[in-house]
Every structure is written in C-alpha cells, then in structure tokens.
C-alpha cells in the first residue's frame, strides 16, 4: 500500500484550506448573479438568454442587457451541492437514457421543478441561443429545452476546425459572422431595442482585457511552485469568465485575481505546503466530489500546472484576444478557433504537449468522464500517444462530471496512489542514476590520464 509513502510527502489534505480571497469574491459575485436571475424569474425586470459554454458569445447578449445563463453552470452547481442525482433520475423516468450526458438530464430535471434550484431560480429565457461549438449534445439539449420551456430558439452553426491548417476557412468566418448578424436582428426584435455598436465595442474591449488578465494568470503557473492549482482553482475563476465576461464586475474580478495570484507567485506560495509533482489534467472535474478528488492529488503534493478543461469556453493562453477594432469578427473567431471544444482531438494533443513542455509538467492525468463524449471518446488513443510517442507518465481514470453513481472513491484513490508511487520510484531511481553518474564523472576526472 502506498499510504506511508504519501504521508511521508508531509501532506495531510484534511488540514489544507484551499480557498483564498478570490474564492470568496467569486462566491459573492455568483450569489449576486443568481439573485438577479431569481428576481427575473419572479417577475422582476430584466431579460435572460440561455447559451452554452463552448466559445460563448456573451458580448452580443450583454450588448442587449441580457444576462447570459449557462445550463452547464447550473448543472455543475447542482452537482457541487450534491443535488444532481434525484434530478437525473427524474429525467431518466421521462425517457432519458443512462448514456445521455448527465448535465442535460440534471437540467431537464431542474426544469421539471420550474427552474427552482438551491442557488436560485432560473428564469424562462427570452431566447435559447444554441451556440453549436463542437459539442453535438448541445443541439439535442436545446432542441429539448425549446420544447420544454417554449422559448424561441436558434442554432448558431459553428463549423468545426477540420482543415489541415487547423484554422477556420474564410467561408467559415463569413458564415459565422452572417449568422451573428442575424442573431443581432433577432435580439433587436425580442428586446425592442436597437443594437448599440458603441456599447458592444466597450464590452468587447473589456473581454479583451479579461482575456489578457486570464492569460497572464495562466502564465503564473509556469513558476515553481505554481501559485495556484490550474485545474481545481481555475474552475473557480471560470464561472466569472463566462457569466460576467464583458461586464465591469467581471473585469474587476480578474484584476483582483491577477493581483492575488502574482503576489502569491512573488512570495513563492503554492496551494500545497510542498509542490512535489507538476501535472497536466485533461477532462472535466467530478463536480459531486470535487474536494475528495482534489485531496487524492494533494496527498501526493501533486499540483496541476495546466488543464484542458479550463479552455472549454475560451483558449486565451496561446494569444487569442477579442479585438475592439474588429468586434464581431473577433467574437466569431473566438467561437471558431479559440476554445477547446471546436478543436480536433489532435489539436488537443498538441495543446497538452505545449503544456507539458512550456509549463514543465511531470505527468498527464486524463480524467475520463462518461457523460462528456466530446472529451472522452478516444482518450484511450490519447493515452497511447503520450505513453508511447512521448514517453510521458500518463494516468487514465474514469468517473463522471455530474452523476455521483459513477464515482468510485476507493478505486480512484488506488489508481492515483499507484501512479504517484511509481512516479516517485522513477524519481528515486533517476536520482540514484544521476548520483552514480556524478560519481562516475568524478572518478573519471580523477583518474590518471
């Protein structure tokens, strides 16, 4: 058993307080966000639109003062509060299958309760904007919601990145911009207000700033120790990134987050008492057991220095920025190319490779979730690639992001322990080999010519 070794790493997760100022601020902002939505649901003024996380075009909605609502964020909130299972089961009674994405099922279950959730009430949206960015389940999800909540619905069709160049074609960009213009016209009709270009430009400018700050925050985990965990702490910053991007509060949040994280980097403070392994994590987190899952890594002193999940809504760390000089085109490009979901598996392999080399990681952990086939389908091939072509220690573990029935704590812990034990062993062996090499080199220099 590996426990002794892990504890020798001097980390007792039970005592670790992961939460910093940013976590508190995030909670306050999200409470306010859900209070606003609840007020609308209860008949107050204001409008909301539902859209999806991948490459979300919130800038357009914000220009019409519509609050963007993401069913994924609602679903994960339900899971974190351990309230997802009865909702999933309710959806299954209605005919949804065990193999359907559980985010959708929890959301459908929530609508059976009239949108009432422990964190607030989700209003019936004024429009359902299905930004079809990579995930094919999105199309099903909003088709079902359109029937269920009876709101006007539109699909914004985003062509997948599919050419050898790995960039969108000119036709792709033109097509997406044309659809965004149609969306704007539709929103004008729904809200009865004219599209205010100046306001839109300001929002896009704030998004550009947020992108810059988020990207700088991500750079910080290149340091040793990483000042925060790029998987478990990044998810805290992701809700404001989508729900509040383009707003002054959203920008303020990222300014403060950058300040806090740089101060930690300056003082060499990491999320754990000691950073022993630097890992890249691929795949969404198991929301119902986030803390327990985190502890499984913390006990080994493993810190994520980068994660693919934190790029589902947008991939900023490789240079993409919204552009106030070309506001609509930059929104289109964000949807087309600057997010994980619309990029191919092979582009994801390259993304991980960059993380491993530029963020200097020791290993890759693939968290394969049953619900999300966008992520998981083919992750076995990903493991093959990293183990055989890149000789990178890689661990593949399975559970789910929303459905607690697929989380087997004991099994996960065993696999994780065995993996880090082996990594540690490698290190010891490498250390011995290196020491022997030094001795041998010394002996060689001391040897008479």
């Amino acid at each position: 058993m590996t426990t002794a070794t892990a504890q020798a790493g001097a980390t007792t997760p039970a005592q670790i307080k992961y939460q910093g100022t940013i976590h508190e601020l995030q909670k306050q902002l999200m409470t306010r966000y859900y209070d606003q939505l609840t007020a609308i649901a209860q008949g107050g003024p204001g409008r909301s639109a539902q859209l999806l996380i991948a490459g979300n075009p919130v800038e357009i909605l914000r220009a019409f003062d519509m609050i963007p609502v993401f069913p994924e964020v609602n679903a994960l909130q339900l899971a974190v509060r351990k309230t997802s299972l009865p909702l999933i089961q309710k959806a299954e009674e209605l005919g949804y299958a065990t193999d359907n994405c559980a985010y959708v099922k929890a959301d459908i279950g929530m609508w059976q309760n009239g949108g009432v959730a422990p964190f607030g009430t989700v209003p019936k949206p004024d429009i359902l904007v299905c930004n079809y960015v990579g995930c094919n389940v999105y199309l099903n999800w909003f088709e079902h919601l359109a029937e269920l909540v009876g709101a006007p619905a539109v699909n914004i069709d985003i062509p997948f990145l599919r050419t050898a160049a790995g960039t969108p074609t000119d036709e792709d960009v033109t097509y997406v911009m044309a659809q965004l213009k149609e969306l704007i016209q539709q929103l004008e009709r729904i809200t009865g207000t004219e599209f205010d270009e100046d306001k839109f430009n300001e929002i896009v400018a704030r998004s550009a700033r947020v992108g810059e700050l988020w990207s700088k925050i991500k750079e910080l985990t290149k340091r040793r120790p990483a000042p925060y965990d790029a998987y478990f702490d990044s998810v805290t910053m992701m809700a404001p990134l989508y729900c509040l991007r383009g707003t002054p509060e959203g920008l303020d949040f990222f300014e403060r987050a950058y300040e806090e994280m740089s101060a930690r980097a300056e003082t060499g403070t990491g999320p754990l008492p000691q950073e022993r392994f630097r890992i890249v994590i691929e795949g969404p987190p198991p929301w119902p057991f986030l803390r327990a899952f985190r502890d499984m890594f913390s006990r080994w002193g493993a810190v994520a220095v980068a994660s693919t999940y934190s790029t589902v809504g947008g991939l900023w760390e490789f240079g993409f920025r919204h552009d106030p000089a070309k506001p609509l085109e930059s929104v289109a490009r964000h949807m087309l190319e600057a997010n994980l979901c619309n990029r191919s598996m092979l582009q994801r392999y390259s993304q991980i490779e960059r993380y491993v080399s530029e963020w200097d990681a020791d290993a890759l952990v693939i968290h394969s979730v049953k619900s999300c086939r966008l992520f998981s389908a083919g992750q076995g091939d990903m493991r093959e690639h990293f183990v055989h072509d890149r000789e990178l220690p890689t661990l593949l573990i399975e559970s789910d992001l929303e459905d607690p029935r697929y989380f087997s704590a004991a099994q996960l812990r065993n696999r994780i322990d065995a993996f880090f034990e082996a990594l540690e062993q490698r290190r010891v062996t490498a250390g011995v080999v290196a020491a022997e090499a030094v001795v041998a080199a010394r002996a060689a220099t001391q040897a008479p010519a």
Binding site: V137, L139, H144, F160, Y175, G378, G380
Partner: protein, 385 residues
C-alpha cells in the same frame, strides 16, 4: 425471388468487401470509405472514385485493438470501424469521410488520422442552422472544399458536369429505393424488410450504375409477386440510422409479427425525399436539397419542425399501428430522440416499444420475446374492440 439474395447477403456481411475489390480491379479507381450518416457521395463519385458505406464490423469481427482507444461506453460502430483499419480490412480504401454527426464519430476521425496517416480522413461539416439563408451557400462551399480535398487522391479535378452526372447516378438509385420503400409500405407481403435492407445495403457497396440495375430488377420482381397477407401489425421503426443491427435481428422482428412499413436503416444513403432540383450550380442544388428536402434525420437538427412531429407523420402516412425504437447501444443522438418520441407517442396514444441492439450481438431471443409480447398485446387489444 430469382434475385440472388443469398449471395447479396454474403456480400453485405463480408468485410473483404468483394464488390468493392471487384470494382477496383476492373476500373483501377480509388475508393472512399464513408462513415454514416449522410455523406455527400456525389462528390467522390464525380471524381471517378467509388464511395462506399463503412458500417463497422457487424458481428463478424473481434475487437482486439480498438477498445484500448475508445472506452466501454462508446457505441460499437466507432470501435469496430477502427478495428477494421487495425486488421487491414480497410487497405482497399484510399480515403475516409467523416461528418459532424456526433462527438464519438468526430473524434474517431482524429484517431484514424493519427494511427493511419497514410489514409486521409476528410471531415465534413454539415450545417445545423436550417433557418439561416446562409446555410445553403455555406454547405455548397463545404462541398467544394471536399471536392478540392479529394481531388489529389483521385488525381484529377472536378467539373460541374461531372458533379451533375454523379447527382443523376445517385438520384436514380435513391429514386428506386423510394419506390421499393413505397411498395413495401403498400404491400409489405411482397417484399420483406430483410430483403429490402439487403438491397439497400448493397447500394452502399456498389457503383450506382450497377446497383440501380439490381434495384430495378428487384422492384419488377417484387411487383409481380403474389403473396398472402399475414396477420401482423404494421410498425414504423426508428433509431437505427447509424450503427446497423444484424440482419438476423431485423428478420426476427418481422418473424415476431411485424410488418415494418418504414424505417431509418442506412438513412444517409436514402436521404432525399424528392429529386435534386436541376439547373444552376450543382453544389448549391445538392446543398439545398440536403437542407430542405431530406427525410427527417436524427443527426440533422431542424428547428423548423419538431422532431417527434416527423415520426407521428410517418406513423400516420404509413398507416402504422405502432412505433418501435430500435436504438444502437450508447448512441447518444438516438437516445436523446427517444425521450422526445416517447412523449409524443404517448400523447398521441400510439403504442411503442423500446429496444436496444449492438451490431455485434448474436442472440436475439430476448428481443424476439419482447416483440412477440408487444405484438400479442396489440392483437389482443384489437380483438377485444
């Protein structure tokens, strides 16, 4: 039937692809493997290539390599198609086409590309915004792009005339299939679904110039047939639009007391409800036809018409007594649709049955038992009225 159905049956089950090999040897042309559901087969055919349907390994192939790439909760066709490549059965295929139908199929396109870089994978984006006037010109541009990507494999370029000729060739096949389907709905005793399926599947493995002759003969012969009407219920079957159930399973559904009067087997090869409108730009004509005139497809999301409405209309049009959902295990698009179908069928008081299959299954007793019970309950209810 004098039609050699036993031979055809062997042909569609044989993963050595005898008809394709024969075509290749005869013509020296290149072969493009098309993953389901809808593939713009007219484009490779116009380039002198033979587009063929890749429907996995059926129940004839052992998965030894592919399950280390795709997890247990991924549908069979994704794994068995990859396995075909691992065991060299796709060596006669010069390129692959995948389409934006679902996430596993899309990721398979990448995995194929990495493991078999010598065989190009072309990923086709099929528009999902049916209400935008920009969708048709966009799809036309996508079809042009596919043509340009295939041209180097074919070793030639594509003209508009080539494409029109190709559209005609497939129109002829699709027209005959529509007639065969209509005949079955009208007089299901004249052609069984097992037979019709075999013929339609053959289309996916032959040059349309050849398969149209087979279909025309089959149609003539079925029309002449004198057969006794059996005491069966009429059902519309949905859910098998991508991964295909074993032929034996289809036959055992019929033997359990069903006349299948409409289905979505091999739907991507029979998608058009009517002919492609002539004239102008052939790419645009094909694009408009797919967007506006295709049958209802599970992988096409058309907000202009609620999905379940199409099923109810099909049940009405074909005078069906019931609907059977026969879905591939782990097929998410199909399983999502089922939730909508179930609600609508219940509301319309149309009896329905949910069945799941895997292409690799061998035993049909349980399914047969369920269908028999379902049919009996319906015939019993009818007798009481």
């Amino acid at each position: 039937m004098t039609l050699d159905l036993a031979t055809y049956r062997d042909v569609i089950e044989d993963r050595e692809f005898p008809t394709v090999r024969e075509w290749r040897e005869r013509t020296g042309g290149k072969v493009i493997g098309c993953f389901p559901v809808y593939a713009p087969v007219e484009v490779p055919y116009a380039l002198g290539m033979l587009p063929i349907g890749l429907f996995g390994g059926g129940n004839r192939i052992e998965i030894a390599n592919a399950d280390s790439r795709f997890q247990s909760f991924i549908c069979s066709i994704v794994k068995s198609t990859l396995e075909l490549a691992f065991v060299g059965k796709l060596d006669l295929v010069d390129g692959l086409m995948f389409h934006s139908i679902c996430d596993p199929a899309r990721n398979l396109s990448s995995v194929m590309e990495r493991n078999f870089p010598e065989r190009p994978s072309i990923y086709v984006h099929l528009p999902q915004n049916m209400t935008s006037p920009h969708a048709a010109p966009y799809l036309a541009s996508e079809l042009r792009r596919v043509g340009a990507a295939l041209a180097p494999i074919a070793g030639r370029t594509l003209t508009d005339e080539d494409l029109w000729r190709s559209i005609d060739a497939y129109e002829s096949v699709r027209g005959l299939l529509r007639e065969l389907y209509a005949l079955r709905s009208e007089t299901p005793e004249r052609i069984s679904t097992g037979e019709l399926y075999t013929l339609a599947r053959l289309v996916t493995l032959m040059d349309p110039a050849d398969s149209s002759k087979v279909l025309a003969d089959a149609l003539a012969e079925a029309r002449r047939r004198e057969a006794k009407v059996k005491d069966r219920i009429r059902v519309v079957l949905v859910g098998s639009f991508c991964e295909q159930p074993p032929l034996e399973l289809i036959e055992s559904l019929e033997e359990s007391g069903c006349y299948i009067v409409n289905d979505d087997f091999l739907q991507g090869w029979r998608w058009a409800q009517r002919g492609v409108r002539r004239g102008g730009d052939p790419y645009l004509a094909l694009a408009r036809s797919y967007l506006d005139d295709s049958v209802h497809l599970s992988t096409k999301h058309d907000l202009r018409q609620p999905r379940a409405q199409a099923l109810l209309e099909s049940v009405g049009h074909h005078r069906a007594d019931a609907a059977i959902f026969l879905g591939a295990k782990f097929c998410e698009p199909g399983l999502f649709d089922y939730a909508l179908y179930r609600k609508a069928l219940d509301a319309a008081a149309i009896p329905h049955l949910f069945l799941e299959f895997e292409e690799k299954m061998w035993l049909y007793d349980r399914v047969r038992g369920e269908v028999e019970t379902f049919v009996e309950s319906m015939l019993f209810a009818e007798a009481r009225v």
